[in-house]
């Protein structure tokens, strides 16, 4: 008996000991050696190379196909558009652009045309020479290939007035961009597009391809007859091959691992400051962090939740409080599909909501006042975001800094709810489900904040929160109007207020149409604001639209995030431009050195 017990006791002792050995150093007892050590600096490595680690890779290298920022970033290392945003400016006037493949550009008000003089002596990486025909080809190509989910609609709108190639003709496309000697002439459909056109082409979808090279590699041959062979055909040769005029050329794309660019020795402008630009895919935050601190990466993507893990490291260069042209908010659908599984019983009986639940403005305003904006911004963004009252955000011409913003006020919300649906809502309550895309921590927190506050206002106000995958879950439900309340974000295509107002407020707007918000009168106001020639009056018109959005309350904005960028101290010359595609910034104007 005693022998067995002692054996048991022995075992238990060993187990306890091992537990202690595991837990004690974790309690912070062990790393005294590291605390005593001076903070190790970041070593200088990979001279002449810019190495970055991010969490996504390009979807495609074809400029006419890629809409995501990672693809756009890769395109802009290798290809060049006619013009680009100058420094920190956002292209509010024609001279706020830097000439790239265009030397100069002039506007003809009578013809509604932009004439670009194309630079001479520019060579493509594979040897071709830049000609105005290449420019015409590049634009006609993007419009006629019109890839599904691609950026063609941005070029289509100013040039042919519609969003899809199906809705226009080859003749219209052909006529919108023509070669004239050393120039290329673009005809826009409306004076409203004068600056919008310039802003649009200063991006990855406005870059110039080498027509001969494309044709030689099986792409569209430039004629009307061949259009149908390439319309919405994917993938194509340019998906994985690049031939541009830019300061770098593609060295290798190792899918899933990295993409490498090397210096173009024959660049027409000043030579690139880096011999190599290497973009490595590293989804694991810890690995990115360690790489940055070890000097193996000059820039890494730092998710917002972890910004304070990099506090107080002297060899890091931290840039913060940059306002991005991005906003997101809650949207309430006014005519939910009656068969939606997310509205409970489908009736105002305390076990669900009717499909037209959100048509009552008191309900919408109640929801708006039930959201705790400060907690959201402080907890999720560590305070680094600004609250906005409408889709027109800071950085856009027409932004009203004094516009009315929603306020978290549970008492006021309760008042609205008591009035809603003839007083029935307060006594009956409701049940429905909100959706968010799984994995998105920010949207989950926002839904839960709303849920918690609604519940505390009235215990019968039960909003459930459910995650679904974005692609197969939420997107289709938005289309079929099964979704009830959801969060959507919008990133600027162009830094123009119209680019934000239209999707949220016009009848055919991207979001508004799925909410069933918008009417003819409002549409007229939106168009009037866009077309207003007097800048001061235009600003007033946008102020008015912002107030309308607040008053109508089809949704409520949550925040406009402020961004941070982390580099090692060896990187110089960085500056912020909110329209710049891609994360690390204007690499061509940056440099790396030990001093």
């Amino acid at each position: 008996m005693s022998k067995r017990l002692s054996k048991m006791g022995w075992i238990v002792l060993v187990a306890l000991l091992s537990l202690v050995l595991v837990v004690w150093p974790a309690c912070g007892g062990a790393p005294t050696e590291q605390e005593e050590e001076e903070e190790q600096g970041i070593p200088y490595k990979n001279d002449g190379m810019f190495v970055q680690m991010t969490i996504g890779e390009p979807e495609t290298l074809d400029p006419a196909a890629g809409y995501d920022t990672t693809s756009g970033e890769a395109v802009l290392y290798v290809y060049e558009p006619l013009i680009y945003y100058k420094g920190e400016l956002l292209g509010a006037t024609p001279d706020e652009f830097t000439p790239l493949l265009a030397e100069s550009w002039t506007w003809n008000e009578a013809d509604l045309t932009w004439t670009f003089k194309i630079r001479k002596g520019v060579k493509f990486h594979e040897g071709g020479t830049l000609t105005p025909e290449d420019v015409e080809y590049s634009f006609e190509r993007i419009m006629t290939q019109d890839r599904v989910g691609g950026p063609a609609l941005l070029i289509d709108m100013p040039l042919v007035g519609v969003e899809l190639y199906e809705d226009t003709t080859w003749a219209a496309v052909d006529a919108s961009v023509e070669v004239s000697g050393d120039n290329v002439v673009f005809k826009v459909t409306n004076i409203a597009f004068k600056m919008i056109f310039l802003q649009t082409i200063a991006n990855s979808w406005g870059v110039i391809l080498d027509k001969e090279w494309c044709v030689a590699n099986g792409d569209w041959d430039g004629t009307e007859a061949d259009v149908k062979n390439h319309f919405q055909v994917e993938p194509n040769y340019l998906w994985t091959h690049m031939n541009g005029t830019g300061p770098w050329k593609l060295n290798q794309w190792e899918q899933g691992v990295q993409i490498k660019f090397e210096k173009n020795a024959n660049y027409w402008g000043a030579p690139a400051p880096f011999d190599w630009v290497i973009n490595q895919l590293a989804e694991e935050w810890t690995v990115r962090k360690e790489a940055l601190l070890a000097g193996d990466a000059d820039y890494v993507a730092v998710p917002r939740q972890y910004i304070h893990e990099l506090d107080g490291i002297s060899d890091l260069q931290v840039n913060k409080d940059m306002a991005g042209l991005l906003v997101f908010g809650f949207f309430m659908v006014m005519d939910i599909n009656p068969t939606s599984p997310y509205i409970g019983s489908g009736k105002l009986d305390g076990n669900g909501i009717p499909g037209n639940f959100f048509t009552d403005k008191d309900v919408r305003e109640g929801f708006r006042e039930a959201f705790d904006y400060n907690t959201f911004i402080n907890d999720i963004y560590y305070g680094e975001a600004t609250q906005v009252g409408s889709p027109v955000i800071a950085g856009l011409v027409g932004f009203n800094p004094d516009a009315q913003k929603p306020v978290f006020d549970k008492a006021a919300a309760a008042e609205h709810f008591k009035k809603a649906w003839g007083g029935e809502l307060w006594t009956k309550g409701f049940k429905f489900t909100m959706l968010y895309n799984s994995g998105n921590v920010m949207r989950k927190a926002a839904c839960e904040i709303l849920q918690k506050n609604l519940l505390s206002i009235n215990s019968k106000f039960q909003a459930f929160v459910q995650p679904l995958s974005w692609g197969t879950g939420i997107l289709p439900l938005i289309k079929t109007k099964d979704a009830t309340v959801y969060i959507i974000g919008w990133q600027a295509d162009t830094p123009h207020a119209d680019n934000f107002v239209r999707p949220f407020m016009s009848t055919a707007g991207t979001f508004a149409q799925f909410q069933t918000y918008g009417n003819a009168e409002l549409d007229a106001k939106i168009n009037a604001a866009l077309l207003e020639p007097d800048p001061a009056k235009q600003v007033q018109k946008y102020y008015e639209l912002q107030q309308i959005f607040y008053d109508d309350c089809p949704g409520f904005m949550l925040a406009q995030p402020l961004n941070r960028r982390y580099f090692t101290k060896y990187i110089h010359g960085w500056y912020w431009n909110s329209m710049h595609t891609g994360e690390p910034g204007p690499l061509y104007y940056m440099s790396k050195s030990q001093s």
């Binding site: 595991v22 837990v23 459910q466």
Partner: protein, 295 residues
């Protein structure tokens, strides 16, 4: 009856198996009394979702309100590991019991009757065995949404083939024995023969494997949660909790173990749960082996 009593006594005599039993009993108690040990705060709609105290991402160290601290997103770790015991048992028991049922039924039919039935069942088994687990789990979660039920279905689909094969192999051995011949000679129906004679002798390896697999099922469920294929975020599940710790493994330079509480605690619960069942399973095998040899 005396067989089981003998087995129980042998289990109790072995110190490691005793430790295993004690561990399992502790977990059972935790699971049953979870609402008392870690009560949900007022107005909390679903007790299986861990309550959050704020929305800040940074885990907070143990304090009076949160005795084990909070993990990323301010989920209470103590609540999570306690209710996680419930989730662990639910997943493990449901998966193992259905797996045993399906596997034993199909395996028995295949082993006993042989022929075409055997071929068909074995081909179906092959298909499931060759199926990559990840893809299956992904597809199920995508179709049904993330939930404990999706995890259970995915794991059951992947697990049953090995049991089918195991019992089939044992039955192939057992059915040639004399007493089976005798029983059939006496006119017993196939079903009766299978259930009363073949199975009781062939089932021990399955039971051993089942006890070992309980730990494996929980580990697999944790891995699925970790990959985002399991329970929804914030569900009280050990795998979820460990995945919350993923980006806090290494703290700021100079204090790399700063967030140890978010990392160690859920992992320790998984470890001890798995350890307990493994010790028990090993003990079963050590005890049942001589029994098998005695035949």
């Amino acid at each position: 009856m005396s067989d089981w009593r003998l087995m129980a006594r042998q289990l109790a005599r072995n110190p490691l198996s005793l430790m295993g039993i004690i561990i399992i009993v502790i977990f059972i108690i935790i699971a049953i009394f979870a609402p008392l040990i870690a009560p949900a705060p007022e107005g909390h709609l679903n007790p299986y979702m861990i309550p959050r105290d704020g929305y800040v991402a940074t885990p907070q160290p143990p304090s009076q309100n949160h005795i084990f601290g909070t993990t990323e997103g301010q989920y209470d770790i103590f609540y999570g590991v306690i209710w996680g015991a419930r989730s662990a048992f639910r997943v493990a028991l449901v998966v193992i019991s259905i797996t045993l049922l399906v596997g034993i039924t199909l395996g028995s039919l295949a082993g006993y009757f042989g022929g075409v039935l055997d071929e068909i069942i074995m081909r179906i088994t092959d298909i499931f065995l060759a199926f990559p687990t990840l893809i299956l789990a992904m597809a199920i979660v995508a179709a049904m949404g993330p939930s404990l039920r999706s995890v259970m279905i995915a794991l059951t689909a992947v697990w049953w083939p090995s049991y089918a094969r195991l019992i089939r192999g044992d039955i192939l051995q057992v059915r040639e024995e004399d007493y089976i011949e005798a029983s059939r000679g006496l006119g017993a129906s196939s079903g009766r023969v299978i259930v009363r004679h073949v199975l009781p002798n062939a089932i021990y390896p399955c039971l051993i494997m089942a006890s070992l697999d309980i730990g494996a099922v929980v580990l697999s469920a944790a891995a699925l949660s970790f990959l985002g294929l399991g329970v929804p975020e914030g569900y009280a599940d050990w795998g979820q909790l460990t995945s919350f710790a993923r980006n806090w493994m290494v703290g700021p330079p100079g204090n790399p173990f700063k967030y140890w509480y978010a990392v160690i605690t859920p992992g320790a619960f998984i470890l001890f749960f798995v350890l307990g069942w493994n010790l028990l399973g090993d003990a079963f095998r050590d005890i049942l082996d001589p029994r098998l040899a005695r035949r």
